[in-house]
C-alpha cells in the first residue's frame, strides 16, 4: 500500500458512508470525549456506520449498541476506514 492510499483512508467521521467499518483515531479533546468513551467509542476502537441520515447525522454501531452522533461532532472525530 503506498502513501497516497494510506492518506485516503484517513478521514473524519462525517465522511464515512453507510455500512463502512472504521477505526477511531482521535476524539475531540473536551467533555464529549468522555461521553463517547462511556459508550465504547474510544480511540482505537473498531466501529461500523450503521446509517447516515440525510443531513449528516451518523448512526454508529458497536456490538449491539447504537449511537446517534450529530454531524458537527462527527467532523471533529478522526477515523481510518477499513473497507
Amino acid at each position: 500500500m503506498n502513501l497516497k492510499e494510506r492518506m485516503e483512508m484517513k478521514t473524519t467521521l462525517d465522511k464515512v458512508t453507510k455500512g463502512q467499518k472504521f477505526i477511531i483515531d482521535q476524539l475531540p479533546d473536551d467533555d464529549y470525549k468522555l461521553q463517547l468513551i462511556r459508550f465504547g467509542i474510544a480511540e482505537g476502537e473498531k466501529v461500523t456506520c450503521l446509517d447516515k441520515i440525510l443531513g449528516g447525522t451518523i448512526i454508529l454501531k458497536k456490538n449491539r449498541l447504537e449511537i446517534a452522533l450529530g454531524s458537527e461532532l462527527a467532523k471533529r472525530i478522526k477515523v481510518t476506514m477499513l473497507n
Partner: protein, 665 residues
Amino acid sequence: MHNTPRSTKSMIDFKKVVLAGNPNVGKSLIFNHLSGMYVEVSNFPGTTVSITSAWYKNYNVFDTPGIYGVSSFNDEEKVAKEIILQGDIILSVVNALNLERDLFLTLQLIDMGKKVSVILNMMDEVRKHKLVINSKKLSELLGVEVYETSALKGEGLENLEDAIKKARQGKEDKFVKEKLNLVKNEIQDQAEALLFLEGDREIQKKYSHIKLPIEDIREEIYIHRRNRVKEIVDQVESIDTPGGLFFSKLGRMALNPWTGIPILLVILTLIYFFIGDLVAQRLVDLTENTIGKGLIEFNIKKLVALEIPNEIEVTVLDEEDNLIENKTFVFEKGISGDKKKFEEFENFIKDKNTELNFVFKNPFVEFFFGEFGVITMTMTYLFFLLLPLVTSFYFTLALLEDSGYLPRLAALADRTFTKLGLNGKAIIPIILGFGCVTMATITTRMLGTEREKTIATALLQFVIPCSAQLAVITVLLSAAGPQAILIYVLTILTILILTSTILDKIVPGHSSPLILDLPLMSFPDLKNTIRKTYYRTLSFMKEATPLFFLGTAIIGFLNITGLINIWINVLEPLTTKVLQLPKESAVAFIMGMIRRDFGAAGLFHMDLSTYQIVVALVTITLFVPCIASFLVMIKERGLKIGLIIWAGTWIFAFTIGGILSHILM
C-alpha cells in the same frame, strides 16, 4: 439525604438504598415494586430535577434519573451523583440486552467502593433474542451478587430484598486502585476520591488544593474501564442473532428519512386525533364548559351571589357561537333577596346555549369570584382545562419514550435543529409546545446547555401556538379561506426561521452536539406509562398551580383597579394604526395575555376582512405568551432573560403584524 420523608423514621438508623442505572433499563419498575403505594416526589434542592423516594421495610429507597455514568455533564447526572454519593447500598440496575453499555456505570459504582448488587433486568428479552448470559460468571468477575429479573413480567423481584441485604463491595479495577493511592491521604471517601480523579468539577472544587494532571488520569480510567467492560462482556455473553426482529426493522425505518418522515406523520396524526381532537376538543369541552364552568363555577358563584349584590350578564349564542342576544339580571340584594327574578333568570337560560358572567359590585368579592376570579377562574383553568390536556400529553410522551421512538426522532430531526442552534433533542419541547407552552417550557430542562434552553424557550414563547390557541386559529382561518391559511402559514414559517437565525447569533454560549443512545424499540408497558404520566402530571400541577394563582391574581388586580383599561387604551393606537384592526381588538390582545385562546377567541365576534383576520392571528400567535407560561419562563430562565423574551414578543408581534398589514391592506 436533603429531604427526609416521614420524620418518625428518621430517628431509627435506616439504610439508604439507591437505584442507579442507564436510561430505559426498567429502573422505575423495580422502584415501583419496592415502593408500593407511598412514594414521595420532590425537587432535588437547588435543581429542577425531581427525585422519588419511598420506604421499603427499614430501607429508604431512592430512585435516580437514568445516567450513563457518575459525573456532572448535566443536571440529571449531578442529582444522581449526589444521591449515589450519599447512598449506603446501590442496586445497579442493568439492561441485560445492553451489557456493553450498562456495565460501565456498574464498574464505576464498584470502583467507588460502594456496596453494590447488580439487578440484571430484562432477562425475558435476552431469551427472546436467543442470547445467553452467564450471570454466575458475571457475579464472579464483578465480585458482587447478580440477580436476574424481568421486572415487566414480575419475575425475580422476590429476590430484591436479598439483593439489598447481600450488597457488598466488589472487585475494583487494579489500575483504578493504583490511581486512588495517589490521593488516599487527602481524600478519605473512596467515592469522592474516584470522582476527583475522574475530573468531576464539583468534587475538584472541594479539593482544589490537590494538584494532579487530572486530564490524563480521567481519560486513562475511562478507557481502562471501557476495556474491562469489553473483557467481561466477552466472557459472560454468547450467541447473538442480530436483526430479523420486527422492532429492530421498525427502529431502522424510523431513522431513514424516506420511511421515518411518513412514520412521524402517522404518529403525529394519531397524536392529533387523541390529544387535539379527543382530549382538547371533546373532553375539555365537557370538563371545562359543562363541569368546570357550568356546574362547579356556576354553583360557587351562585352560592356567593345569594347574599351579595350582583348582576348576571347572559349572552345567548346559536350553535355556531354567533351572538343572538344579551340580557342582564340585576340582583340588588343578592339572589335570595329577589327569588322571583332568579326563577325568571333560570327560565331564560333553560335549554339555551349561553355564557354567564356574574358581576359583583364589591371589588373584593369580584377579585375572588368574578369574571377573572382568582378562585373560580384558576380552578376551572387548572383542573378542567389544563389537567386533562397535560395528562394526555405526558401519557403520549411516556408512550413514545418507553417505545424507544423519541431518540430516533431526535436523530432524524438533528440536522434541522442544528440549523436553529439546537440539537435534535429539542424537537421534544417544541412538539409539546403545540400542546401547552407552559408545560413545554418546563421540559426545556432536558436540553444540554443554558444556551439551548434559552433558544428553545424563546422559540416556544414567540412562535409556537399552544393547542388552546391552535384550535381557535384553525376555526378562524378555515372560515377565512385557503389564501388566508397560506399567508398565515408562510408568515409563521418565515418568522420561525428568522427568529431562530437571530437567536442563534445573539444568544451567548455554545450548543451541545447530539450524542444519543438508541435503545431497542419495543411495546411500552402500560402500567409503567401510566405511573410515569401520573408522577409527571402531579409534579407539573404542583409547580404550575401557585403560578396560575399568582397570574390570575395579577390580572384580577389589574381588572378591579381599572388598570387594565389604561393598558387597553395604550394598546389601541397600535392596533388601529399599525395593525389597521378595529379598536376592540385591543381587548382581544390583552385577553390573550391571560390565556392565549381568550385572545384569539375575542376575534370571533368581530367583523373582520380576510386580511384583517390573517394580520390579527399572526400578531396574536407571536404576541406575549399566557401569564402562566410567562411565570414559568421567569422561574426557569430567570427574571432578566424572561423579561427580555417577554418584551421581545411585544415588539416582534406588532412589527411583523404591522408590516404584514401594510403589505396586505
